[in-house]
């Protein structure tokens, strides 16, 4: 992917400073009839012209590669920029704007070798998030800082996916079957659990339980067991993006957290070859049909990245009616909704009425409201208690129709995953 070049050559403010100083010296030399200011003016006048003539003529081509590391809240980004000769790597100026919601933990660190400019960035993510980092803007600036050009950068955008680590275990959940046609064949796939299927070379991330130690000892290398896994069903992830009474900024943050959870869940289920569908309900329904595989993961990421808080809240019934056009009834549905007002609570009964059996994962707004409060501690404690009671009452009302999980610690979803993995509890709604 290549960033388009907008303006090939620009004079920097320092050039105008030098030219202004040279013109002033020129005027003074003429007025005083002395050649010294004129001779001092010469280098100042010629330097801005010489700057673009020495070095790359035209936009320099730069190859950019990046790596994202770090766990949970920390993001460590390393970029390498390799310009074509005769551009010096140290003359490149890079701009990487953190996506909204990401904080800079430390200033960027630059280091240059003969061929490559390395940029190390340390960011901090307060909430779970999914974001796509575009190819950075790179400018070439001459060593004197007089002219600059946009560089032609080739590279790929970097994906940033941060969600609670427990979600990785969510994929092994036994899901309800959605298609019960006579003569239907059971789809079999290779997975981490199920019936023994065979032995393969162990991967780095294979858990110790999956390693076949006896076979490894015989072969002299690590071997792991593979299991034939029955695909248990399909899962639908439904995001409620309607605006609430909490206000646009809180709505946007809660939606960002929901997006990250949806992506984490989709990733876990897709890894187990389950078919996953995603529906976004704002003013209307945006539905991604059920599918599986890597392409589906990219489709899901794209649809989640394009999701924002809807301008208008549509009636809850519309969601139930519209969903039936895209998905079969009886499907396991995970609804991600803040449950912040009566209208969002209405969504669950409408879904049940249309034959969906949702499990509600509700990111709580209480931590966000507490962080932005400017009350004195006594008042804040009182407001916190009342808000908590109100929140409990909202979640309890949702429980009448479907199990609802109040998600207050955004970096932990162990309770939710355990709940999903125990089908008896799920069926009873406990």
């Amino acid at each position: 992917m290549s960033a388009p070049v907008r303006e090939p050559l620009r004079w920097r403010p320092r050039s105008y400073l030098l030219l202004g100083a040279a013109a002033a010296l020129f005027a003074l030399g003429i007025a005083e009839r002395t050649p010294v200011p004129l001779l001092v003016a010469f280098p100042l006048l010629l330097a801005p012209i010489a700057a673009p003539l020495v070095g790359a003529r035209g936009s320099p081509k730069v190859a950019a590669t990046g790596v994202v590391r770090g766990k949970e809240r920390s993001i460590e980004l390393t970029y390498h920029f390799t310009p074509e000769s005769p551009t010096y790597p140290a003359d490149l100026r890079v701009t990487v704007a953190p996506p909204s919601g990401i904080l800079e933990a430390a200033p960027p660190r630059y280091s240059a070798s003969a061929d490559t400019l390395q940029l190390d960035l340390s960011w901090h993510v307060p909430d779970p998030m999914v974001a796509l980092l575009p190819v950075p803007d790179v400018r070439w600036e001459d060593a004197l800082g007089l002219v600059e050009r946009e560089a032609e950068v080739t590279g790929e955008p970097l994906g940033i996916e941060r969600y609670p680590p427990e979600l990785r275990r969510a994929g092994v959940v036994r899901l309800d079957r959605t298609v019960a046609l006579p003569g239907e064949t059971r789809s079999r796939a290779i997975g981490a659990t199920g019936e023994f299927f065979g032995i393969r070379e162990a991967l780095l991330d294979d858990p110790p339980r999956q390693i076949n130690w006896k076979a490894s000892a015989r072969a002299g290398r690590r071997l792991a067991n593979e299991y034939a896994l029955d695909r248990t069903g399909d899962v639908l992830l439904l995001l409620d993006t309607r605006p609430t009474s909490l206000g646009p900024s809180v709505d946007a943050r809660l939606l960002g957290i929901s997006r990250a959870a949806a992506y984490g869940l989709a990733d876990a289920f897709l890894r187990e070859k389950t078919r996953v569908g995603v529906a976004v309900f704002g003013e209307f329904i945006t539905a991604l049909p059920l599918s599986t595989g890597r392409t589906q993961r990219i489709r899901i990421r794209d649809i989640l990245l394009a999701t924002s808080v809807a301008p208008v809240a549509a009636p809850a019934e519309r969601c139930g009616v519209a969903l039936r056009r895209y998905y079969s009834r009886g499907m396991t549905t995970i609804l991600l909704s803040p449950l912040a007002d009566a209208e969002s609570l209405l969504l669950v009964p409408h879904l049940r009425r249309r034959g969906f059996h949702p499990v509600v994962l509700s990111p709580s707004y209480l931590p966000l409201l507490a962080a932005s409060s400017d009350l004195v501690p006594e008042d804040e404690a009182l407001v916190g208690r009342i808000s908590r009671l109100l929140r409990r009452e909202q979640v309890a009302r949702a429980w009448k129709d479907a199990p609802a999980i109040d998600w207050e610690d955004y970096w932990s979803l162990g309770g939710f995953v355990d709940f999903l993995r125990r089908p008896t509890l799920r069926e009873r709604g406990i």
Partner: protein
């Protein structure tokens, strides 16, 4: 995006090129017609201004650091005696000033090494102007020749500022 971490700010603000610039300005002050104390005061004020701004924690101020030495250079140039040696010394000080610009504390180290090639053209221009002004016979004509050369360069600058694409490489038919 915040300022890059590029090593000690003090070391970069008053590095070797700063010493070169200081030598140029102080020497130029000694060659001028200003009283010694006043001349040195002008030079030191410009240098102090530049060093203080480059060491400042506020990055927005760094861009204004070159103004101090430029003003000092201008005052000393007007006050210098109109003869060959001060003129040559003034031009060399202007080159030293350009070299000092390349040692920017907000950029990676090694700027002066990369900037040397870019000083070739200003250096040649200075040498031509100086030889034509002082080594050719003539009285007031020396100022005239220098002014004519300078005027020509000004026209060239205006042309380039208006159409910077002149400096771009032509696209080949196969590219």
């Amino acid at each position: 995006m915040s300022a890059p971490e590029v090593g000690s700010r003090f070391g970069r603000a008053v590095g070797p090129t700063f010493a070169l610039l200081a030598a140029g300005l102080l020497g130029f002050a000694l060659l001028g017609t200003l009283p010694l104390f006043e001349g040195l005061l002008v030079a030191v004020a410009g240098l102090g201004f530049a060093a203080a701004l480059r060491q400042s924690g506020w990055r927005g101020l760094h861009a204004y650091a070159p103004v101090g030495p430029l003003v000092s250079l201008g005052i000393l140039a007007v006050a210098s005696t109109p003869s060959a040696i001060p003129a040559l010394y003034g031009g060399a000080t202007a080159l030293a000033f350009l070299l000092w610009l390349s040692e920017d504390p907000d950029r990676l180290a090694g700027g002066p090494g990369r900037a040397i090639g870019r000083l070739l053209l200003p250096g040649i221009g200075l040498a031509l102007a100086w030889t034509s002004s002082f080594l050719l016979p003539g009285g007031d004509a020396t100022v005239g020749i220098a002014a004519a050369l300078l005027g020509g360069v000004l026209v060239l600058v205006a042309l380039f500022l208006r159409a910077p694409e002149i400096l771009e490489r032509d696209a080949t038919a196969t590219s």
